[in-house]
């Protein structure tokens, strides 16, 4: 493991009775994408805002790029970029005005600022929208200008708070490409997400957080391994044999088999890979033809369910207020 880009110990923040962040220890090494995965209200934004020096921790410590977020806030600010969860540029201004504003605030001359803004707009496919007010941008364009605004001075560490929430798959892919591009150039990205596949796709390491606490940490492979061997997916030639196949599989695997959306398919979580071969043999002995079978790793969805006892995308009740 290289040097640490972020290190926190016992980080806490409460709002009244809500323990938004309830003691978080993180160690994020430099380079690559670190994913913070958690449902709505888990405390992701609060954690990021403390790391970006916007919010003072109630307790605990955090070092970002070696600087303390409270004592050396200014050093942190000049080295990180923050793309907040909500609008992080001025909607009334045009794309180029927003970038020029930030460039001037970071010390660029007017002329160099304009050049920098133009380069950024080009790189993010926004050159044609440069002179349009941001409020007239589409969702994907908005997200791109939000991210571009964090790169006016190339940061060593970038915080992206739910960068793809609400985007369609095409725009989500574009944001993923940007993230991969930034990492390829040596940046460290801390990204929060509610989407399991996003963490799976992008992050080298993932912290799963729920109710302000880290409940699991590791690579996506490690997280998956921690909840068991995965599942067996089977597809039958004859859909009408599915009920019987369910019985056979359940008998051998000693776990319930579940019908899939496909009327000829079913799947079962497995705890013991040894039994898989036996279950397939048993199906064939019972005269059930199998056309396809696959042994899948558990999805992060299953990981989340196993870790928290509730679905990742389900909102905890106390959030209703």
């Amino acid at each position: 493991m290289g040097e640490l880009a972020i290190e926190t110990r016992g980080l806490k923040k409460s709002f009244g009775k809500t323990h938004a962040v309830a003691g978080v220890d993180l160690a994020v090494s430099a380079g690559g994408v670190y994913g913070v995965l958690g449902p709505n209200g888990a405390g992701k934004t609060t954690a990021i805002r403390m790391l970006a020096t916007l919010l003072r921790p109630d307790a605990g410590e955090a070092q970002v790029l070696g600087y303390d977020v409270v004592r050396d806030a200014r050093a942190v600010r000049s080295r990180v970029g923050l793309t907040g969860q909500f609008a992080s540029v001025d909607e009334d201004l045009t794309g180029v005005e927003n970038l020029l504003l930030l460039a001037r605030l970071r010390g660029y001359s007017r002329r160099r600022g304009r050049e920098r803004a133009a380069d950024l707009l080009d790189a993010f496919g926004l050159a044609e929208a440069a002179d349009r007010q941001v409020k007239k941008y589409s969702g994907g364009m908005r997200r791109r200008i939000d991210i571009a605004a964090s790169l006016v001075v190339t940061p060593e560490l970038i915080f992206l708070d739910e960068p793809t929430t609400g985007l369609d798959p095409r725009n989500r892919n574009q944001v993923w490409e940007i993230v991969r591009g930034m990492v390829a150039e040596g940046a460290t990205v801390l990204l929060t997400t509610q989407y399991l596949d996003e963490a799976d796709q992008l992050a080298d390491r993932i912290a799963v957080i729920d109710h302000g606490k880290v409940i699991a940490e590791g690579s996506s492979g490690e997280l998956k391994a921690s909840v068991g061997a995965g599942s067996l997916h089977v597809r039958l030639r004859a859909p009408e044999q599915r009920a019987e196949a369910e019985r056979v599989l359940a008998g051998v695997l000693e776990v319930p088999a579940e019908p899939s959306a496909d009327p000829a398919a079913l799947s079962a979580r497995i705890s013991d890979p040894e039994r898989v071969a036996r279950s397939l043999a048993e199906l064939s002995r019972s005269g059930i033809d199998v056309t396809e079978f696959a042994l899948g790793q558990p999805s992060l969805d299953e990981v989340f369910l196993a870790l928290t006892g509730h679905d990742a995308e389900e909102t905890p009740e106390e959030d209703a207020a």
Partner: protein
């Protein structure tokens, strides 16, 4: 051209271009507080350019008030509308500026709600500069408002006896006072949750503040306790000063009063605002 077609026309993110911008290792030196404040002031002007509707309070309020008070109440209050206009106009100038200061708080609160303030607060700049810059931008609004009131007054027959010097001095004092008073609204906007509640509370403060003063009528006929209240209202002193300057006298003592209350406003509400701003949740 709509957003969708433009988006399709524009090339998606290109790897090479992205690499180039990321590798540009330029690290300009950190700009000072004056430059960053002025830059935020520039942002405020851009917003006026893009959303000119926001000047309604700056233009319509003063016009409406001048016309309404002069023609509805002028005759009854001062014998003739012309006589009343001589008394009222400097007062309206004060009221217009004080009203315009409210906008500061509402704008700031909107910024906070939308999230763009998080970005500003995450920048390595002198911390008060987003607030100071917004207030500097507001100076333009006060100037527009003042110009409109004075022009309207002259058209309606206001006799401007203090000359250009009187006008310029009045406007300068109005700008100073308004800038200082704005810190009250920035403070409120950091305490209250929504732009609407900021507007509501501001109005509740604003109406007594401007009406319980000598802006509209001479307080001589009012009960003694009310006169006492009016006497400590800084708006009263500001109106007296502007009235004096516009009519050609220099009420030095009153000018001192206005400057002292301006300094007090900043000294009290400035630091509170900054503490709230730093610790904003």
């Amino acid at each position: 051209m709509n957003a969708t077609s433009a988006e399709q026309a524009s090339a998606p993110v290109t790897e090479d271009a992205l690499r180039t911008v990321l590798l540009a290792g330029e690290r300009p030196s950190r700009p000072g507080p004056v430059l960053t404040s002025l830059t935020f002031g520039w942002r405020a002007l851009l917003k006026i350019k893009h959303v000119p509707e926001q000047l309604v309070d700056v233009t319509m309020f003063p016009i409406m008030f001048t016309l309404m008070f002069t023609y509805l109440f002028g005759g009854a209050l001062a014998g003739s509308t012309q006589e009343y206009l001589q008394f009222l106009l400097p007062g309206i100038l004060v009221q217009a500026n004080v009203m315009i200061t409210m906008n500061t708080g509402i704008t700031l609160n909107t910024d906070i709600q939308k999230g763009v303030f998080d970005r500003f607060r995450s920048l390595p700049v002198w911390r008060p500069s987003p607030l100071v810059g917004a207030l500097l931008g507001d100076l333009v609004r006060y100037s527009i408002g003042s110009t409109i009131v004075i022009t309207l007054g002259l058209v309606l027959g206001f006799r401007q006896e203090g000359g250009a010097v009187g006008v310029v001095l009045s406007v300068v004092l109005l700008l100073v006072f308004s800038f200082c008073l704005s810190w009250l609204w920035t403070m409120l906007s950091l305490i209250l949750r929504t732009p609407n509640s900021v507007a509501g509370v501001s109005m509740t403060v604003m109406f007594p503040l401007t009406f319980v003063s000598n802006i509209f009528v001479d307080p001589k006929t009012m009960p003694g306790w009310l006169q006492a209240v009016i006497e400590v209202n800084p708006i009263t002193h500001l109106a007296t000063v502007v009235r004096g300057l516009m009519h050609g006298s220099v009420p030095a003592g009153e000018i001192g009063w206005v400057l002292v209350s301006s300094v007090l406003l900043v000294a009290v509400f400035g630091p509170i605002t900054m503490v709230l701003y730093r610790n904003k949740k």
